[in-house]
Symmetry: C2
Subunit: 148 residues, 2 copies
């Protein structure tokens, strides 16, 4: 974990908070290339009535448009929650080189917690988990506490 | 495997052939509810410059619009190739109840071949693999033979 990782994770945290404000499960993501944010997104499954609209998927979609191609070479994705199988698979398919995530996800985390998709003969991004994990977890805990 | 399964798989095969005609890895998918096709799609990763645009993802996106919600309850997805982690994860997230696939995928198949995502504590669709697998495989083999 570096200061740079904390900086970009804080940007993802801001997006997660916007999701919470819109009554969506609060997860935010940014994609960074050459130290610049080229895509940022947050979960909007309920508003958009679409199970694909996790933060990571929306960010990958935007980054492909920004770069004009489907291979996100040289990109790092920062996300406040460990990716689920869908998002981990999308990250692998997009050739994102590095993933930095915040909170661990016991239920669906697919870069080390529930399963580890980097253990299979697929493209292997470099993974750093647990960056600002307390801050990232707190947003989720607070959200679900209010929901009860 | 039933006659109905073969019927809808043949519809997915037609879509895979359209992908091949457009020089895309030939995979096709349809989503069926109450014996009606509510969404149909084929892989268009190259044309759309987007790694998310696998047949299954595009079909799920269309089905959500058709049904007006993110839970694809009562739906069956037919796809000519065993889903990759991204697509298997999207199927699970969308609550599609049953998946019927054709060819097995040794490299990335995530409903039984490389991994089996139904073995984890996630939503578990019912899976039928290998329906018209020879026909489905032949389209892929032919495509990659021409590419060499």
């Amino acid at each position: 974990m570096t200061e740079r990782d904390e900086f970009f994770m804080n940007e993802a945290i801001k997006l997660a908070k916007r999701a919470a404000d819109e009554d969506e499960v609060p997860v935010g993501a940014v994609i960074v290339r050459d130290d610049k944010i080229i895509a940022s997104a947050y979960n909007s499954r309920e508003k958009d009535k679409n199970p694909l609209f996790h933060a990571e998927i929306k960010a990958i979609d935007d980054a492909c448009r920004a770069l004009g191609g489907w291979r996100l070479v040289g990109c790092t994705l920062y996300v406040t929650l460990e990716p689920c199988p869908m998002c981990a698979g999308a990250i692998i398919n997009s050739r994102i080189e590095r993933v930095v995530y915040g909170a661990y996800d016991n239920k669906a985390g697919s870069f080390g917690t529930m399963i580890d998709l980097t253990q299979y003969p697929l493209f292997k991004p470099q993974i750093t988990g647990g960056v600002l994990k307390n801050e990232c977890s707190a947003i989720l805990t607070e959200f679900f506490k209010k929901k009860r």
